[in-house]
Each structure stands twice: as C-alpha cells, then as structure tokens.
C-alpha cells in the first residue's frame, strides 16, 4: 500500500482552486452547520469507497454486462468531460494567479499554455515522471495549506464562532455543493497499487478522512478571516481568506497553492484518461484494427486531450459563462458513476455482514450511497440555470462513449465461449 497516494492522487481534485472556492462558498452559506454537512458528505463518500472496494473483490460471479457497461460509460464520460473542461478552467486560473501575484509582465495565457505543454510532456516521458511531478506538486500544495492553517489557527484561536445570520435557508441548496468536495478520491486507485479490497478501501477512506479534517479546518479559518456573506458569494474566497490571514505573504502562498493545485489536478486528470477503462475486466482482446490500437495508447490520449484543452483555451472558452456549467456537468456524471457502483453491488447481491457488531442488511449501504449520489446529481442539474446545456453535453458524450465501449466489447473482445471455461473472470478495480 502506498500511503503517499492518499495525498498525491486522491486529494488532487480536493485541493484544486475550484474546490477551494466551492468550499469557501459552502462554508459562508452554511456557517455553523458547515462542519456537520462536511462530515455527512464525508460519511457518504466512505460508503462510496467501501462499495468500490467490495466491487473489486467479486469473485467468479460479477455484475451483468449491462451494469458493467453502465459503469464504464459513466466513468469514461465523467473523466473526459471533467478533464477537458476543468483543465481548461484550472490552467487559465493558474495563469491569472501567476500573472497577478508573481510576474505581472508574463502573459497569463502564455503561462497556461506553458503549463499545459509541460504536463503533457511529463506524461509522454512515462509514469515515473508523472508520479514524481505529482508528488512535488502535492508537497507544495499541502505545505502551503499547512502554513496558512497554522497562521489561521494562531491568529483566530479562541475567536467566537461564526454566527448564523440567516436561518437554514441556504442549507438545502448548498448541500449539493458539499457533495462535490470529495469527488476524485477514487483517483488514488490509479497509482496506489492494491488489487485487494482492504488495501483499496483503507487508502480511499484514509484519503477522505484526512481531507475532511484539512478542508474543514480551512473552512473554519476562512469563516474567521472573511465575513460569511462575502465568503458565500465570492469567486475567490480562498484568496481573500489567505490575504486576510497572512497579508501579502498569505496571498503569495495561496497563489502558489492555486498554481500547484491546478497543475496537480490537471496532471491527475490527464493520467486518469490515459489509462485503460476503469473497472476493465480481464478479457482477452481479439484482433483490433491498427487505428484502434493506436488510439488506445496512453500517448495518443494525452495528445488528444492536450490539443482539445489548448484549442479551448485559445478560443477563449475559459472566459465564457457556460464553462462552469459544463464542469458541473462532468462532476454530476462522476456522482452518477459512484451511484452506478452501488447499483452494481445491489445487482450482485450482498450478503448480510455477519462480522459486524451490528447486523444490518447488506443492501442498506449501497441503497443509501446510490440515493445520496443520485439525489445530489439531480439537485445539481435542476438548480443550474444552464440545465439544458448540461444535459445536452452529457448526452453528446455519454451516448457515443457507451456505444463505443459496447462495440469494443461486442466485436473486439473474446467471448466466454472462446475463453477457458474453467478460468474465472476476475472483476478488477485497478488497472
């Protein structure tokens, strides 16, 4: 088990600027209820992690092909949409942070392109370079956050808690936002080794738990440093909080966190789309055409992703209003992917957990998880003013991706009759 994977991969999206901004908004809206809501969200993500770990240990029996296709389709759709849209946003954000904080004469878009080129090059250099880069970026982010937290605790320890200015009006609408904070914890599986359930589960739960404390502490510090109303509506609450906590030094530290956090998130997302499909079964593949084999190479995927992201940045898409909705669309599908994991377990049929001190039916956990994830994604969709555009984007990507996966499984994968019938078909969670 690689514990560093908790921070370097599992937390890569949780400390990216978009999540820090979301965290600030939610903390400002929920105030005293924020720690409770964060804990509830973390609990539901523990459930997601446990179900994912359980799914990886399925033996010869496995979910049906339809369920497997649903999982694969949602996984690929979510990761590609989030990789393209969120990377575009994050790289531009990093460019602005660099230009406004460090070197004002260096064009912000030029920095964004340089960052994209460097990350793509790192991926083409191989997995070792990717891991080293991710580790370095994560160290910068976590060190910076630690320093700011220490400064915040030193400054505000003993201060009275934030007062709820409004009744619980903001609570329902912000709960769906809280559900997005821990998205990406499963990226830890990309590089955290583990093909066994206990290791996978431990890594993921460890990631969620530690980050819940870290993000909760940052939310508390933000509430102490910035008025709740301003925190809830600002697009850069994390920068304002850092500035109020540590002055210009705090501002510079947060800029470094924004740049490194953006790079780490983009690096992790590029890694997630460059690998074979999530939950890919160990099925021998029949002869495939050359173009398909080339398209499945990690380098090809990285180049395609980088070119699309570069094209979007050059086209000014990051400055449009709709990009934020498209990012939410991708995250929404990621929530549905988590729900699909639970559905897969339900379709498999879980036994009653006899070793638990409390005997509860095996279906309770996946039902709760699927309900929470599906409900959050629906809430995110219906409360967004660009609901139609989000739905359109999801369908435009999901349908062809699922069709392509089905076609690949149908025509380019050995069927059961072609395999050795005595050989079990493992359902592996990791690559």
């Amino acid at each position: 088990m690689n514990p560093m994977a908790i921070f370097t991969w599992g937390a890569s999206l949780m400390v990216a600027p978009h999540t820090l901004a979301l965290l600030g908004n939610v903390a400002g809206a929920q105030q005293l209820f924020f720690p409770v809501c964060l804990a509830v969200a973390a609990a539901f993500y523990w459930i997601n992690a446990l179900s994912m770990a359980d799914l990886s240990t399925l033996g010869p029996t496995r979910p049906s092909d339809a369920v497997e296709l649903m999982i694969a389709g949602l996984s690929w759709t979510s990761r590609w949409i989030v990789t393209i849209m969120l990377s575009t946003v994050l790289l531009v954000t990093a460019g602005f942070a660099f230009n406004e904080t460090f070197i004002y004469w260096f064009p912000n878009f030029a920095f964004a392109f340089v960052l994209l080129g460097v990350l793509a090059l790192v991926h083409l250099l191989g997995q070792k370079a990717v891991r080293w880069t991710q580790t370095a970026l994560s160290v910068i982010v976590l060190s910076g956050l630690s320093v700011l937290l220490a400064m915040g605790v030193w400054r505000y320890m003993g201060a009275p808690p934030a007062v709820v200015q409004k009744p619980m009006a903001a609570l329902p609408s912000s709960m769906a936002g809280v559900a997005l904070i821990f998205i990406g914890f499963d990226l830890v599986l990309d590089h955290g080794c583990c093909s066994r359930s206990k290791q996978a589960g431990k890594l993921m739960i460890g990631c969620i738990t530690i980050m819940a404390f870290v993000l909760g502490a940052w939310g508390w510090a933000s509430l102490q440093a910035v008025p709740a109303e301003k925190l809830s509506v600002s697009y850069i609450p994390h920068i304002i909080a850092a500035r109020n906590i540590g002055g210009n030094a705090g501002r510079m530290i947060m800029a470094a966190i924004v740049i490194a956090g953006s790079a780490a998130a983009v690096n992790a997302l590029l890694s997630s789309v460059s690998r074979p499909g999530f939950l890919s079964a160990d099925r021998p593949l029949t002869l495939r055409p050359l173009w398909m084999r080339r398209l499945e190479r990690p380098a090809s995927r990285i180049i395609i992703a980088a070119l699309v992201i570069g094209w979007m940045m050059a086209g000014g898409v990051a400055g449009t209003e709709i990009i934020d909705s498209y990012v939410r669309a991708g995250l929404l599908v990621w929530l549905l992917f988590y729900a699909a994991i639970h559905i897969a377990l339900l379709s498999h049929g879980l036994p009653v957990r006899r070793k638990s001190p409390v005997i509860w039916p095996g279906w309770l956990r996946p039902v709760a998880g699927a309900t929470a994830m599906t409900g959050s994604s629906v809430a995110l969709l219906v409360t967004d003013p660009e609901m139609a555009s989000m739905g359109g984007l999801i369908l435009i990507v999901l349908l062809p991706v699922t069709a392509a996966l089905w076609a690949k499984g149908r025509w380019f994968t050995a069927s059961d009759s072609e395999r050795n019938p005595a050989e079990p078909r493992p359902f592996r969670l990791n690559r």
Binding site: E100, Y235, G310, M313, G319
Partner: protein, 89 residues
C-alpha cells in the same frame, strides 16, 4: 520522440496564436495608465468576461465593464470627448 515534437509544436502554435498581439494595436503601459488614472476624461473599460473576470483578484477602481463581443453596440454610445482604455489582462 516524434509524438513529443508534434505535441509541443502544436501547443506552442496554438498558444502563440492566442497570445501574440497585433502590432497595430495601441497599447498603454501599466505605469503610464497609473499616472493618468485621475484624469477626468479617462475611462477604463474592463472587457474581461466570465471566469476571466471572476478569477481575477484585482479589479480596477472606477472601471466600467463591457463585452467585446458586443463592441459595436456599446462603443457607439460612448461620448466622443473622452479617452478610453480597454483592459483585458
């Protein structure tokens, strides 16, 4: 190696296409603008939109916001006796 060269070359070309300024544009340096900020006839127009504007930590005091995609609409309505500086990044 070939893949790297192609990728880096295309990203650089795209980046340059987006970042290279038109030499015929009239530009004003930050220091010069700062010196003339108090002029009554000077109007700064912030043309950043969406996340470009929201993610920025700094907004110029007194600047008015406008969308460059609707330049023809608002440009015609501006008084002709003032000096305008557009700001994008």
């Amino acid at each position: 190696m070939k893949n790297w060269i192609i990728l880096i070359g295309m990203i650089v070309m795209i980046g340059m296409a987006g970042s290279i300024s038109d030499a015929s544009d009239d530009r004003i340096a930050k220091e010069e603008l700062l010196e003339t900020m108090d002029e009554p006839n000077l109007v700064v127009i912030d043309v950043r939109t969406g996340r470009d504007w929201r993610s920025s930590e700094f907004k110029i005091r007194g600047a008015i916001r406008a969308d460059m995609s609707e330049f023809d609409k608002w440009a015609a309505q501006l008084p002709k006796d003032k000096r305008y500086v557009t700001y994008c990044a």
